[in-house]
Amino acid sequence: MSRWILILFSIALGIALGLAYGWAIAPVQYTDITPDGLRIDYRTDYVLMTAEAYRSEQNPALAARRLAVLGSEPPAIIAEGAYDYARQAGYEEADLAAIQELAIALETWQPIPVTSAP
């Protein structure tokens, strides 16, 4: 009986050590993530960068391409989501205005369909 207790105890101890090693000491490393895995504040800052660039470029197609790296959602939705977070997080008025300007521009922007030559 005591032999099985020792075996079970050893297994339990081994599992505990394995979990500790795998979760705490050497967890799985994600080094090549995509932007959709970014924390919300970093995603919002990326949208803000796009909005700042849009202010001088006034090119919604280029802004939409920049936002496309954040996921498959429509760029206007991404910009609106960023605006909501920025407002809750207390971003400066100028930054909020820039994101809002971009969001509005993307709402009304229609991508030009690519037509193949005959």
């Binding site: 020792l6 050893s10 297994i11 394995g18 993530i33 995509t34 932007p35 970014l38 700042e52 920049r66």
Partner: protein
């Protein structure tokens, strides 16, 4: 004997348990990073991130904000990372505007974009103290006849500096650039056929991000200043092929430098080798 067996069973059980625990921790339920930081981005997405930072900087001129954003990527040398990216973008055919934005930010980070080029007489060429490296940006393959290039100097009209709102001088505003210096360079240490181009403002400040068009018999190449800030922020280079006649001009306009070809130089040992040219464009 029994004790040995018991210890052995204990060790094996421990190893078995450790393996089970590790399998659960690494495979079944690994630690998930759903709130990752930009430094964990894949390399190509880091490039996107840098481009966005550069575009924002080009718009708002806020260098401190750009610097803080770049710090998130944890590059050992952000300026170098930007310069390398600009060259990658150039090689991959990215738009000149986006390359310029990245190059401008790289130069601004170096803190020398607005540095004065050493003062010289108006007919001299602005020559940096550093020597260019042996890694020109590109080279074509053509073989027309050789034309000897003579060093020529062009007088500079009266300086009419234009105040600018941004921290960094750019190539897109102001009067068209003029060719103010064209010198033959015979230095064996340099890459053979190296065409060095320096671009400065009227007040002799280095201009990063300026687009230069190099043309020859049936080809054309676009190069940009600012991609080698370790040499000069207003520097760009190109590797000329032997016996090819080139013409270069600023993309923003202005008179071209024509009839250029790699000169033949002679080393101290009497051996012939291809020399280089140094061209200087400056805003009037």
């Amino acid at each position: 004997m029994k004790t040995t067996r018991t210890i052995l069973e204990g060790v094996i059980s421990l190893i078995l348990g450790f393996g089970l625990g590790l399998t659960y921790a690494w495979v079944i339920s690994p630690v998930k990073f759903v709130d990752a930081e930009p430094q964990a981005l894949r390399a190509d997405f880091k490039d996107h991130f840098r481009s966005a930072i550069s575009a924002a900087y080009a718009s708002n001129g806020d260098l401190e904000r750009a610097r803080a954003r770049l710090a998130l990527l944890n590059d050992p040398d952000p300026a170098q990372a930007l310069s390398a990216q600009a060259q990658r973008m150039l090689a991959s055919g990215a738009s000149p505007e986006s390359v310029q934005q990245v190059a401008l930010l790289a130069s601004a980070l170096q803190g020398q974009a607005a540095a004065e080029v050493p003062t010289q007489t108006p007919t001299d060429t602005a020559i940096p103290t550093e020597k260019p490296g042996n890694t020109p940006t590109s080279a074509p393959g053509e073989t027309p006849p050789t034309v000897e290039v003579q060093a020529t100097n062009t007088s500079i009209p009266e300086i009419t500096s234009t105040p600018r709102p941004t921290l960094t001088p750019t190539a897109t505003l102001g009067a068209p650039y003029q060719l103010v210096g064209q010198d033959t360079i015979c230095e064996p240490d340099l890459a053979e056929g190296l065409l060095q181009v320096y671009v400065t403002t009227a007040s002799r400040k280095q201009v990063p991000g300026a687009e230069i068009i190099v043309t020859w018999n049936n080809g054309e190449e676009h190069i940009f200043t600012g991609l080698k800030p370790e040499i000069n922020h207003g520097y760009a280079d190109y590797l000329m092929a032997p016996e090819v006649i080139y013409s270069i001009r600023m993309a923003d306009g202005g008179a071209p430098a024509s009839g250029l070809s790699a000169p033949t130089c002679t080393s101290t040992e009497g051996e012939a080798y291809l020399g280089g040219l140094r061209i200087t464009f400056q805003q009037p």
